[in-house]
């Protein structure tokens, strides 16, 4: 290391050089450079090379899987010319419905080929999903929206923080029509969308989280389905002496359907009707022991009646949970989630139900608005 002679008392002096043309010119030049850099980056980011090199894009969402599903759907629509059926819900949907199985079953029964995408995202209750539904329906015009739901969607204490974070997201706000510069830039800059998965590169735990995200990216099918490899080993019933240990519901209150959450369901039904999409609300077939955590079968029945009544009033079709015997224990990864064995069973069931609606009631789910899906 070369050490330049410098007295200890040599305080650093500000530059005394004059700038005859003025600093404003430098700022103008800097602006020009900035525009040039941005144009260069944007141009490079839009090349096929970068698209293939960088694994996935992001809207800067706090929820990695939400980003993943948005871009997967975009890619799905680009590859297939549109989408006919969108399945919306939480993690139970993500691992519980295989669109390929639904398509195949429906095709066998009707001779029509559907384009189905699984938009299940971990932790999203009916409240954020009502916002998701709005954006998805308005952008992709699916012929059918399948909303998969379960009791926790309507528990007022469930997923509040998630909902807040979901709604405060700048890009989401922009998508909902609330203009903000950051949201606009994210929505329009491909370079930024490529950068955003790496935005936390400086965090100590980034290599681990990035690797985990990458793994999810690779295990998620192009149809949005992510198989769950877990297998449920034993069924644990709730301990009446340990209410605080209830992992599913707020144990301090008996379960009840929250009116504001029910309003979200009504909003989705209205939205679908207004946009010409049909809607089927499916109750997720969780393990029967799950209902014991919520207060028993009576509470579950009351929940079913309430949802059925609301869906019918909103012009939708409600499919209550299939008999628990249909899905064996080996088809579940826990009380609520299905695994790779259970998902095809439930998917085939949904395919059959949709086929029945087509064959018996003449309902058509093939989307004519965004491209014909006929082979």
């Amino acid at each position: 290391m070369a050490i330049v002679k410098l007295s200890n008392r040599d305080a650093i002096e500000p530059s005394a050089k004059k700038h005859p043309i003025g600093f404003g010119y430098t700022l103008l030049q800097a602006f020009a450079f900035l525009v040039l850099f941005i144009a260069l980056l944007e141009g490079i980011a839009r090349t096929r090379f970068i698209g293939n090199l960088l694994p996935y894009q992001s809207f800067g969402s706090w929820h990695y899987q939400l980003d993943l599903k948005w871009f997967r759907l975009k890619q799905y629509v680009a590859n297939n010319g549109g989408v006919d059926v969108l399945i919306l819900g939480n993690s139970l949907v993500n691992t519980g419905f295989d669109p390929d199985v639904i398509t195949q079953t429906y095709y066998e029964k009707t001779g029509l080929r559907l384009r189905v995408f699984n938009f299940g995202v971990d932790g999203l209750t009916i409240a954020p999903n009502s916002v998701n539904a709005k954006i998805l329906i308005e952008e992709y015009h699916p012929a059918l929206l399948v909303l998969v739901t379960e009791m926790r969607d309507y528990d007022a204490t469930n997923g509040i923080r998630t909902e807040e974070k979901f709604l405060s997201d700048t890009w989401m706000q922009y998508q909902l029509g609330y203009f903000n510069p950051r949201g606009w830039i994210i929505a329009h800059s491909v370079a930024l969308q490529h950068f955003l998965p790496y935005r936390n590169w400086m965090r100590a735990d980034f290599p681990n989280t990035f690797a985990a995200n990458l793994q999810t990216y690779h295990t998620t099918f192009l149809t949005g389905y992510e198989p769950d490899n877990g297998v449920m080993k034993e069924v644990v019933a709730p301990d009446p002496n340990n209410l605080a240990g209830n992992p599913y519901f707020d144990s301090t209150q008996p379960y009840q359907v929250d009116p504001s959450r029910l309003e979200c369901l009504r909003a989705i039904l209205d939205l679908a009707r207004e946009n010409g999409s049909q809607i089927v609300v499916v109750e997720m077939p969780v393990h029967p022991v799950f209902f014991e955590y919520a207060g028993g079968e009576t509470v579950h029945k009351a929940f079913q009646e309430k949802i059925a009544e609301t869906v019918q009033a909103g012009g939708g079709i409600f499919l209550p949970a299939i008999d628990e015997v249909t899905i064996p224990l080996q088809g579940r990864s826990n009380l609520t989630h299905l695994n790779w064995r259970g998902a095809p069973i439930l998917s085939a069931y949904l395919g059959e139900q949709l086929a029945a609606l087509t064959n018996q009631d003449g309902m058509i789910f093939v989307n004519k608005q965004n491209g014909d899906s006929q082979p």
């Binding site: 650093i12 530059s15 003025g22 040039l36 800067g60 935005r199 400086m202 100590a204």
Partner: protein
């Protein structure tokens, strides 16, 4: 309101425009309103506390100036009041648990939250400035300020409120009456200072800070020595760039108001001795400690022990000065150790002068200067251990670095298996490879300092070709924009003092 956020930029724009458009007699009133506005964004209680503190010192300063007798007594009352205020708020962690317990015993404290005191922002910085004001009046270096508003601005001036620089009244007060006009040069200078500050804070300090896992400073022995060493090195640059970044922004902001603030840092990690380090690190505090602790104590001791090389004269002044520096940062054993270490470094450094005349560093061969710089840097970095963590953890961290068994071989095999997808990523720290991302940030950080050090000019960039300046500015702007998408932002480290 943090000074790195967009709302502060908007606030500053309004303040500067108002200040420049108003006639001279209203400018200080406008500044006072701006100071109050800035403080209120933190807490309205802070306004009250700092106003009382400033007003008491204003009155005491007036009394010292006018008194024919008992000047020293009033000075000590003022110092006691300032130190007491600092003790009450800053060191509340020490006495509040005992006080709460005592009040509970006598039945006066029944609330579940206990007593809580908020430490007003910048109290440590304001207090030492007020002490220097009283001492300077006593020593007839400065006359007491007659106008309350002007004096309060000295105490509350918002660009320097959070983390200094620590200004002297005799230097600062005249600037309030004669702010420098805005010119193309001053705009370029102040703008560049702000850009350098933002770069240091947001692109260097915050990034390096996020790269250090929080567990490293809690359970250091779970990591390998090479990683601990890298993180300690990174922390050294975090604290420096964080603080220097703040000062640079504060100076730039103040410069737009025509009030120049002192420089607080002068490429300290290129120092070739610890004495030089303290001439380059937190310069305004170093000067304060020198003028109000080191010199008075040295003079006092010389009266009792006239020989300059007497062991008491040799040891006590630097040691006490650095211990006070440690205590100023916080009342904890680890900060005392940090101060004590620097005191010890200074003493050891002076030992050769007992038998041989001092040779100036500039006159020594370059290789000696380089070695001296390396040793000084290593000692300064080592001292950050007790500055950052408690004594026990610091000891463990140090042990983690020096114990040979903690120098593990990097596990390249495991790493390659992970990248091939054969193994899941469970813990990247298991690879025992120093994080390359840290070096990616350290290199430009060192280059930034090197450019300033080599040319003895912190604004050397203004002498570079215009297109280079413009390209650099565009890159920094792009970097700041991209950094703003990261999920976390850190407050200034020295704001906590």
């Amino acid at each position: 309101m943090n000074i790195t956020i967009a709302s502060f930029a908007a606030f500053m724009l309004i303040v500067v425009l108002g200040y420049r458009l108003l006639s001279a007699r209203f400018r200080n009133i406008w500044l006072f309103v701006a100071c109050l506005g800035f403080l209120i964004t933190w807490s309205w209680e802070f306004v009250g506390i700092l106003l009382v503190l400033g007003t008491v010192n204003y009155i005491l300063g007036g009394w010292i100036g006018e008194a024919k007798e008992g000047r020293k007594r009033i000075l000590w009352i003022g110092i006691a009041f300032d130190v007491f205020t600092l003790l009450i708020f800053k060191y509340s962690d020490f006495y509040i648990p005992e006080l709460t317990a005592f009040l509970a015993r006598i039945g006066m404290e029944k609330g579940s939250g206990g007593i809580q005191l908020l430490m007003p922002i910048g109290l440590s910085f304001t207090t030492v400035q007020l002490i220097s004001y009283l001492a300077d009046i006593h020593n007839r270096i400065v006359l007491p300020e007659k106008r309350w508003l002007k004096f309060i601005l000295y105490a509350l001036y918002f660009p320097k409120l959070l983390s200094g620089p620590i200004e002297r009244a005799r230097v600062f007060l005249p600037k309030l009456d004669q702010p420098q006009p805005l010119s193309a040069e001053s705009i370029a200078r102040n703008f560049t200072l702000i850009v350098i500050g933002l770069t240091r804070k947001l692109l260097i300090a915050d990034v390096l800070n996020a790269l250090i896992p929080s567990a490293a400073f809690v359970q250091p022995l779970t990591y390998s020595a090479q990683m601990l060493l890298t993180w300690l090195l990174a922390y050294a640059f975090v604290i420096y760039n964080d603080f220097a970044g703040y000062t640079s922004i504060a100076r730039g902001v103040s410069g737009f108001l025509g009030i120049e603030l002192s420089s607080n840092f002068n490429t300290p990690y290129f120092s070739r001795s610890i004495a030089e380090f303290w001439e380059r690190w937190h310069i305004s505090l170093s000067n304060w400690l020198r003028d109000y602790i080191f010199f008075p104590l040295s003079r006092l001791l010389r009266k009792k022990f006239p020989r300059p090389d007497h062991i008491i004269n040799f040891i006590l002044p630097p040691l006490v000065t650095m211990l006070v520096s440690g205590m100023w940062h916080g009342l904890s054993f680890s900060l005392l150790l940090w101060g004590g270490l620097h005191g010890a470094y200074l003493i050891v450094e002076r030992i050769p002068t007992l038998w041989a005349p001092k040779v100036l560093m500039d006159e020594r061969p370059k290789w000696q200067q380089a070695v001296a710089a390396l040793i000084t840097f290593s000692l300064a970095v080592l001292a950050w251990l007790p500055f950052r963590m408690d004594l026990i953890t610091a000891k463990r961290y140090f042990a983690g670095i020096i114990i040979p068994s903690h120098w593990f071989k990097p596990d390249f095999l495991w790493m390659s298996e992970v990248f091939k997808g054969h193994l899941p990523v469970s813990d990247v720290y298991g690879w025992n490879i120093p994080d390359p991302r840290i070096f990616l940030v350290l290199v430009p950080a060192i280059l930034l300092d090197w450019a300033q050090y080599r040319h003895k000019d912190e604004l050397i960039f203004l002498k570079w070709p215009r297109w280079v300046q413009a390209a650099l500015l565009a890159l920094v702007t792009l970097g700041l924009f991209l950094a703003s998408f990261a999920d976390s932002a850190a407050p200034f480290v020295y704001q906590g003092f």
